[in-house]
Amino acid sequence: MHRREFLKSVITLPFIPGFRIVIPSGRSREMVETGPAKKYAMVIDVDKCIGCGKCVIACKTENHVPMEAPVSRTWIEGYLDDKKLVMNTDENPFLKSKASKGFFVPKLCNHCANAPCVNVCPVYARFHTKEGIVLVDKETCIGCKYCITACPYGATFVHPEEKVTDKCTFCYHRLRKGLLPACVVVCPTGARKFGPLEEGSEVYDLIKKNRTTVLKPEAGTYPRVFYINLDTVVEL
């Protein structure tokens, strides 16, 4: 082969689609830490939620998301009469409402078993842990926001200070120390329940004995956040 031709081919080689597949990388989008582990889930009873917003404030304090920024790892949607109000800062918009009918839906990352954000991430910054929790590797994240577009629940946002994407981690740092997530701890009515999805656990019993639903089942994401007594209109 001619020298120039050889150099040309060496330089263009990495840009040929499929070249990366040849490189022996064991990296996958699935679990990194293998082995049997409990899968965790959250069950939210919509009837019990009173829209006090303590979970939003606790989540922001626990996970260092700026309080005044209108983004949050968990937020409450209040459907009051025909209006939809959202609480994602420490200001509670529901208290001023004069509505006659209403209910509140706490929302957070659904930790989908088939997570669109994990599937679309171009730099493999999102992954499942062995507990089935979707985490963001903030060192690798380049902030391209593909995951924000891909998430059907709007649970991902750009952190105002770190400038990379951020989302609920089910308080992974607390979970590994045997504590409950901050939003579950502060919920005064016990609307949020959290635990392992195994026989005999509280969460397992709740799902077994109640009519539960997930948000947007048609998206095929297999969420791990279940709702009890949810009005189907909310799923929009």
């Binding site: 009173i50 060192e139 992974y172 701890v185």
Partner: protein, 142 residues
Amino acid sequence: MRISTAVFSIAILIYAAVLVYTFIISPYIKEESIVLAIEEEMGKEPVHVQSEVCKQCHLEVFTNLSLGNHSGVECAACHGTGKEHAKLRTAGSIVVEDTRDACMICHKKIAGRNIPTVEENHGSGVRCSYCHDPHSANVPSE
């Protein structure tokens, strides 16, 4: 001509270095980045204290609380994070809000609340704790 060859070889060297970093020694390819991310996530300090910790000092208050209507409510719901207070153990390091607004966060009458709620004019001008003790939350007799 000679200069351009030198520039070209330097470019090749830089290119090779980038290639070697990207595909051989970067944490991405060695699958270290995920392990590091999990370690970083686990290294964070929890700030919200659960009531198991609180009752080690405040057992009397905790017993009162668990007998009343607020039995299911964790201390952190009203008193905030509590990590500082567990370290310092001073009165100023914990949130104690004895105001009407603090109670009204949960007990104001708005649509969709199926817990005991009150209208805006209920006991107007009086602190809630004048009649109700939040730590043994039963409705007081007249």
